[in-house]
Subunit: 189 residues, 2 copies
């Protein structure tokens, strides 16, 4: 098995020991992609069959609100990228786009998902993916409900310093729910 596939599988198998058969079944639906900055993985309002795992690179997700981009999250190495809507055969609410030239594993959800009804290890594997995503969302909400932007900025800087090196501040400002001018002023202190 490719070492990169192994990295993806290990990341979500947790305490569970997957059999070689299960690993092979998962790998059947994986491929490795090398794509350039600005490449769009998933388009808002469209249906897609794939999710992605970041081997190397940076990705952002955004939706359009009154013509302006609202950034919802960023993914770096070992993060999962995708739309929960797509997982349920619905069109994505967000556009997912590369911020750096990246190496990704694509996961064919359309083919992998049905296996969760016959293979318990795959069911638990998918469970782990969704659970990690839900924890991430909770964290995000928790932190977005803090009143002052300065606090949010400092916490993000502390928790995810890499973002500030790799993601344009314009996107980060929008993620924090403020304008780029306000973020620039907060940083001036």
């Amino acid at each position: 098995m490719d070492i990169l596939y192994q990295r993806f599988i290990d990341h979500y198998s947790g305490s569970q020991q997957l059999t070689d058969h299960t690993k092979a079944e998962i790998c059947n639906h994986l491929s490795i992609l090398h794509l350039n900055k600005k490449h769009v993985l998933i388009k808002e309002n469209q249906q897609h069959d794939f999710a992605y795992f970041v081997i190397k690179g940076a990705v952002r997700s955004y939706f359009l609100k009154d013509g302006i981009e609202v950034n919802t999250w960023f993914a770096l190495e070992n993060d999962m990228v995708g739309s929960l809507q797509n997982f349920n055969d619905k069109p994505s609410k967000e556009t997912i786009e590369l911020v750096e030239n990246s190496t990704l594993i694509s996961i064919n959800l359309k083919k992998l998902k049905p296996l969760m009804f016959s293979n318990i290890q795959i069911s638990n594997f998918i469970n782990a993916v969704i659970e990690e995503y839900a924890l991430f969302l909770e964290e995000k909400i928790y932190f977005s409900q803090m009143m002052h932007s300065i606090d949010k900025y400092l916490i993000l800087l502390d928790k995810e310093p890499q973002l500030f090196q790799r993601i344009p501040l314009t996107y980060i400002a929008s993620f924090l729910g403020i304008t780029r001018e306000t973020l620039s002023r907060l940083r001036a202190k």
Copy 2:
């Protein structure tokens, strides 16, 4: 099987047909509770073994930020109530409290969760619960990133009109990320 348990199980079994054996296994870890307004189900920073399903009533979740309550969500009939942290044996980040006298089903996570490794139907069942929760969180984030509070208020009023009849405006204001005074002024229009 109790008709209320049936309602809970049906709500999350989706397309999946559960065997009587699985249903019985799940029911082993359910109980029905009648509790009064202000009763605290889950306390911030404490570990709890239960999640809850609302048969009748209203529930809110909040955490303390600089001594003031920040409301994170509300649950009404057929909603699930719990902390994802508790599901992973970690202390809850939020306090969960009844807003009305309520009838709930309690779910013993400590005992139910391990079954997902041996019973694929239970694994998929838990999957459905977490997935619905993640979709709910996504919705919440999607809508909290809109700039103007007035929009958020109007959308909430449109999507969840019952909340405004049953949940005090003070809590709703905090949920929207504004003060009760501001919400009151928005409503005056």
